[in-house]
Symmetry: C2
Subunit: 205 residues, 2 copies
């Protein structure tokens, strides 16, 4: 989180840390966008948060919207990749579901800012990339739906999709209840609630 950005102390001797500026900027931007929204955060502030100032951003991204696009693309493709990996390496749908839950919960707990931005700021991504991100998100949902459909073949896919959106809402609520519960207790709580919600959705008549 809030690491020491005391870097540029003397303007005479810059450039030592050798750290990846790109990644730093993406991380700071995620945190700030999550707090005040894409248009609520000036570039100046993003770069200031990592110790460089202003137009340095254009050395790493072609613009503010490109920064957001890359951020969302990265998140959605990582989620999707994890889901595919999990689904293909599990012996059966039951284990797949468990592993999928683990993926999403881990992501929600460890990257709350990214998760928040991911489902709020798609509307601010310019059209070339928007479609691509949407596609990845859809594929991610479909991984879940496929697994659930194996477990409950009689449940209509539309219902499974709607239920999954609700479950994502449940799991992604973590950022809003930060600090409510001891860190270690959050994960099992989310897991048991999500599991119960899913079971209820597919079973209820």
């Amino acid at each position: 989180m809030g690491d020491v950005t005391s870097a540029s102390a003397t303007p005479s001797t810059p450039a030592r840390p050798r750290r990846n500026r790109r990644a730093e900027i993406l991380e700071a931007a995620a945190r700030l966008f999550a707090a005040r929204g894409f248009h609520g955060v000036p570039i100046e502030e993003i770069c200031g948060a990592v110790g460089v100032s202003g137009p340095a951003l254009y050395r790493h991204f072609s613009g503010k919207e490109a920064l957001l696009a890359e951020m969302l693309l990265d998140v959605s493709s990582r989620l999707r990749e994890s889901a595919v990996a999990v689904a293909t390496s599990s012996p059966g749908p039951e284990q797949s579901l468990d592993a999928l839950l683990d993926v999403q919960i881990t992501f929600a707990i460890e990257q709350p800012a990214l998760i928040t931005v991911h489902d709020r700021e798609l509307g601010n991504v310019p059209e070339p990339h928007r479609r691509q991100i949407r596609r990845l998100q859809r594929l991610y949902v479909e991984e879940w739906v496929t697994v659930l459909a194996e477990l409950h073949p009689t449940c209509p896919a539309a219902r499974l999709r709607a239920a999954m959106h609700a479950v994502f809402g449940l799991l992604n609520s973590t950022p809003h209840s930060a600090g409510e519960l001891a860190g270690g207790d959050m994960r099992p709580l989310l897991r048991v609630m999500a599991r119960a919600a899913i079971d209820a959705a597919v079973n209820a008549r």
Copy 2:
């Protein structure tokens, strides 16, 4: 509706044509804020959506932030009032819980834009009102926690609070899954999922 609207004091002839521009503007603003965020929507566009243009907004609100503040204050006080009414008029905690679920689900389904803005844009409300809105939100959550604590006295309050945030996330996911399911099917689905999630949270381990 918290402030003193002049002219309502004179009982002589309050029968103005009273087109509710105020309400129209609030509604349009909610829809637009939900889609692109507070800072993503110019005043021009809000007013344009209701047929007037530009600075006409200042005939009804003291500024853009005041508009947002009133919107959030209205939502949070309405929710809180409904919760209090429900809790005091139900014969027991079990019925209270059912009624609370009904309140939240109805609101989420009928006012998706308001719900969305309500839990995204608090960070853009200036400090005088921010505290007040937070307070109302907290009181709303406490209504739920009180009811749940009656039903499950052994469950720590912190866990109940965390579980409730997750349930709100589940119920407020409606805007994201708009159109996924036939209108009439959404309500019972959300209800059964939320109920199962709550039961799992308070019973597990």
